[in-house]
């Protein structure tokens, strides 16, 4: 086994002026940050984080890929996804058939992404944002039409500046402007 417990001891404070160095260190450090704060605050409505494509945001349906298998509804841990019956005309045969389609209720969704991962045809995909506010609960229960197109991203629409955070050795995180590549 390569892990091992190591008994350590606290450094004891000794002497009359033991606290002096601690005080000086703390105040110096405070002053250092007063001069150079190294902050990375996101000024949210004016800026927004352009998240990676892998981010588990709102879930949207590619209707043409869906094979009506109900896997997503069965795996949903929060029972947010459910199947509704809808008459659909088959494009090939022209027959009208009753089919099951998934719809999602965002009051319940916990964004675990199980449905996206379980879909056998990749008919579900996530958009990399989740900061959408609804005025009432009913709006959050998406119908099939809403579910098939990506929701509007309000911050982006209102002209927020997309930024990205990258890990930096000196400052922890650095806020950089996201490059112009437009997400589709």
């Amino acid at each position: 086994m390569t892990a091992r417990p190591v008994v350590k001891r606290l450094v004891k404070r000794k002497g009359l002026f033991a606290g002096f160095k601690g005080n000086v260190d703390a105040i110096t450090l405070g002053l250092k940050y007063l001069v150079d704060p190294k902050r990375f605050t996101l000024i949210y409505p004016n800026e927004y984080i352009k998240l990676d494509p892998g981010y588990r945001g709102f879930i949207v349906l590619h209707k043409e890929k869906c094979i009506n298998c109900s896997s997503c509804a069965r795996i949903c841990p929060a029972a947010a996804m459910r199947m509704i019956k809808r008459q659909e005309q088959d494009p090939k045969t022209g027959k009208v058939k009753m089919k099951l389609w998934p719809v999602i209720n965002y009051q319940r969704c916990i964004f675990c992404g199980y449905c996206v991962d379980v879909c056998p045809t990749e008919a579900l995909y996530t958009v990399p944002y989740h900061d959408i506010v609804y005025e009432n609960m009913a709006e959050m229960d998406w119908g099939l039409e809403t579910f098939t197109r990506p929701p509007e991203h309000p911050v982006e629409k209102e002209g927020g500046i997309p930024v990205k955070y990258i890990v930096d050795e000196e400052r922890g995180l650095v806020k950089v402007k996201a490059e112009g590549e437009e997400g589709d």
């Binding site: 940050y33 902050r39 605050t41």
Partner: protein
């Protein structure tokens, strides 16, 4: 022209000028600035932005004004179980008393602009500054709430320990010049400030004022995590705002006393005749020095946490009190040697 002169005379009539203009309006402006500075400085140390959205162009400077407006329009709830009279009166009286010391100190050496005879002004100012905590304790007691009473008792402990030290160490300055007259104290510093001559007393006074005016995180009486808001637990709206403001106003008043006693008052400047040179400029210098002191007070917030009550008292009686005594001794020694 006479009208202008009349108005100026009224404005610069020392009691009005010092009590209303500096005491009330000035301290409000300084407190707004200091709170903004405190928030901004702390935010910088803590890698935050601080107040911003109130007015992004001036870095959120009017944040406190917005807060005050909120307090002013908030409903004042007076619970049924409180002693209503004292409950309402205590924060008001405490606020008035905490700015009152400003009205009895000289802000110039020109005798025409002294609000009161200055012979015992050090004593009088210090005496007035000690009255306001009683009303905070009263506020806690009148609230009839466990947290308030614990907070009030804590206030009493802390005040007893640290006000004494503050008084003693400010009196050290007056011991050096062998006079209770603030003007003498300031005039004696025209060559060398008492902060250099008597750093012990200054340090003791600094710590004592820091603790006695209980700003975050030295607000042992209203330490949030055990006693919610201490004496002010039951307060809401404007009365709560007054309570909070009173602490800062008291800090401002004591900072002015410290600026006069240790930082040379209007020192580099020699007040002359007339309103401008005899009163306005020296008083602004004193306020500027007090503000710098308050900025130093504010900065400690971002570095330190809260003392424990017993540790604070222990520190007061075992460390800061001897320091103040030593400072006083040093002052007497300097007076004996005739350093100034």
């Amino acid at each position: 022209m006479d009208v202008v002169k009349l108005i100026l005379d009224i404005i610069f009539y020392p009691p009005i000028y010092q009590l209303l203009l500096i005491g009330l309006v000035g301290s409000l402006v300084v407190v707004i600035f200091i709170l903004w500075f405190e928030r901004k400085a702390t935010a910088r140390v803590q890698r935050r932005l601080g107040p911003y959205h109130v007015a992004p162009r001036v870095a959120g400077f009017p944040q406190l004004v917005a807060d005050l407006v909120r307090y002013a329009f908030q409903e004042v709830i007076i619970p049924r179980t409180v002693d209503a009279g004292i409950f309402i009166l205590a924060p008001i009286v405490a606020t008035i008393l905490s700015i009152l010391p400003i009205a009895v100190v000289p802000l110039t050496s020109n005798p025409g602009y002294w609000p009161v005879p200055m012979d015992y002004s050090v004593l009088v100012a210090l005496a007035i500054s000690t009255v306001s905590p009683i009303f905070l304790i009263l506020a806690g007691w009148a609230s009839n709430n466990k947290f308030s009473i614990i907070g009030g008792v804590r206030e009493a402990f802390v005040i007893t320990a640290y006000e004494l030290i503050a008084i003693l160490s400010i009196l050290a300055a007056s011991a050096t010049v062998l006079s209770f007259n603030f003007v003498d104290v300031v005039e004696a510093q025209s060559r060398i400030w008492f902060i250099i001559l008597n750093p012990l007393a200054f340090l003791a006074a600094f710590l004592a004022v820091l603790m006695a005016t209980s700003g975050f995180p030295f607000e042992i009486p209203e330490s949030e995590n055990e006693v919610v808001a201490g004496p002010f637990t039951e307060y809401s709206g404007l009365l709560y705002g007054l309570n909070m403001g009173a602490a800062y106003m008291k800090r401002f008043a004591l900072s002015i006393l410290m600026a006069l006693a240790f930082l040379g008052g209007w020192a580099p400047y020699t007040p002359g005749e007339g309103i401008l040179s005899g009163y306005l400029i020296p008083s602004i210098i004193v306020i500027a020095k007090a503000t710098v002191l308050m900025m130093a007070f504010s900065f400690t917030r971002s570095v330190y946490g809260r003392f424990r009550l017993d540790q604070a008292l222990d520190g007061a009686w075992r460390l800061v009190f001897p320091m103040a005594i030593l400072g006083f001794g040093l002052a007497l020694l300097e007076a004996y040697l005739g350093v100034v």
